[in-house]
């Protein structure tokens, strides 16, 4: 182990702001990006599933009302 104390480690020989500013931003980006990507992937899946279910229900309704006035579809 190279460092004598925690404050030594944090000070980085006077370069603390620059070193931790670099590592901190890198960590922030590399934690935020996967979180956002995963959230978006799940949102897409959920939205598409809802749209599909809605479309299927619409189709059912159409089948039931066959013979009656044909409904207007958006």
């Amino acid at each position: 182990m190279y460092w004598n104390s925690l404050s030594d480690f944090l000070a980085m020989g006077g370069y603390g702001l620059y070193v931790w500013g670099s590592f901190g931003m890198t960590a922030l980006v590399m934690l935020l990006e996967p979180w956002l990507a995963l959230r978006r992937q799940r949102a897409i899946r959920l939205l598409l599933a809802r749209q599909l279910l809605a479309a299927m229900q619409e189709e059912e309704k159409q089948k039931k009302s066959m013979g009656a006035e044909p409904e207007e579809t958006a």
Partner: protein, 249 residues
């Protein structure tokens, strides 16, 4: 060994989607492992630099991020070329999935470079060849993302993006060789293919492991993104419908 023909099977989105899902945890695991060892060596074990003191430790994130920003662009351009040449569906999706991660690594490269430049050169930024060409790389990524999002038809968006990606690829050797071709503030390469590295073994190992961790990270996060893109674009196919109903009954 698996026969080579089996690889082509995974070029179909229906086969690639579940494969990507199975691979993602493995790449997260490798990224965490390499990152933990690399950071331990770089921040706790490696001695100080005789010229730059402790400030040199920025190298452990700066070099990996810069390499990935260039490497991801090359991979993106490769998929763009494949997509243009063979009109394969998955290629455009791969390029689109890679671009945001490439842009973020270009940003990290510039950010850590500025934080390194300030104490060592006395300035956050100079318009020198290495820095300017890296900034252009960030703009190329942003341009690619903006262009492909501005076109509604995905196949047309892929083709337009592919042309931009291929034109921009000329910038990569400019970034890489800029420190040789021009007089710049930026130091030369610490690692090269033709001569032995100009740094201590422990620092080199740490830098390599951090870069490797970023590589594994890139694969994991772009596979997550490409899965979302596949679902969006293939939503009218039977396999996606079956998958959606299975997951959300």
């Amino acid at each position: 060994m698996m026969p080579l023909t089996h690889i082509y099977k995974f070029a179909a989105p229906a086969a690639f989607y579940p494969l990507a899902g199975r691979l993602i945890p493995w790449f997260w695991g490798l990224a965490a492992l390499f990152g933990a060892i690399g950071l331990w060596l770089g921040l706790a074990v490696a001695p100080t630099d005789f010229q730059q003191g402790e400030g040199y430790r920025i190298i452990f994130v700066h070099v990996g991020a810069s390499w990935m920003s260039m490497f991801i662009y090359l991979v993106m351009a490769f998929w763009a070329a494949i997509g243009l040449a063979f009109n394969t569906r998955l290629s455009g999706m791969m390029a689109a999935a890679l671009a945001p991660t490439g842009a973020l690594f270009a940003f990290i490269s510039l950010w850590t470079g500025a934080l390194w430049g300030k104490p060592m050169w006395g300035t956050w930024w100079v318009w020198d060849a290495r820095l300017t060409s890296e900034l252009i790389l960030l703009f190329l990524y942003v341009g690619f993302i903006a262009l492909t999002h501005a076109i509604d038809d995905p196949r047309r968006a892929d083709r337009a993006g592919a042309v931009l990606a291929l034109v921009g690829v000329v910038n990569i050797p400019i970034i890489y060789f800029s420190v040789k071709w021009w007089n710049t503030l930026h130091q030369g390469a610490s690692v090269s293919l033709t001569r032995s590295p100009s740094m201590a073994a422990i620092m080199l190992w740490s830098m390599m492991l951090c870069a490797l961790a970023m590589w594994m990270y890139t694969i994991a996060v772009s596979l997550i993104r490409v899965r979302g893109i596949i679902l969006e674009r293939e939503r009218h196919t039977n396999w996606v419908k079956a998958l959606l109903l299975e997951l959300n009954p």
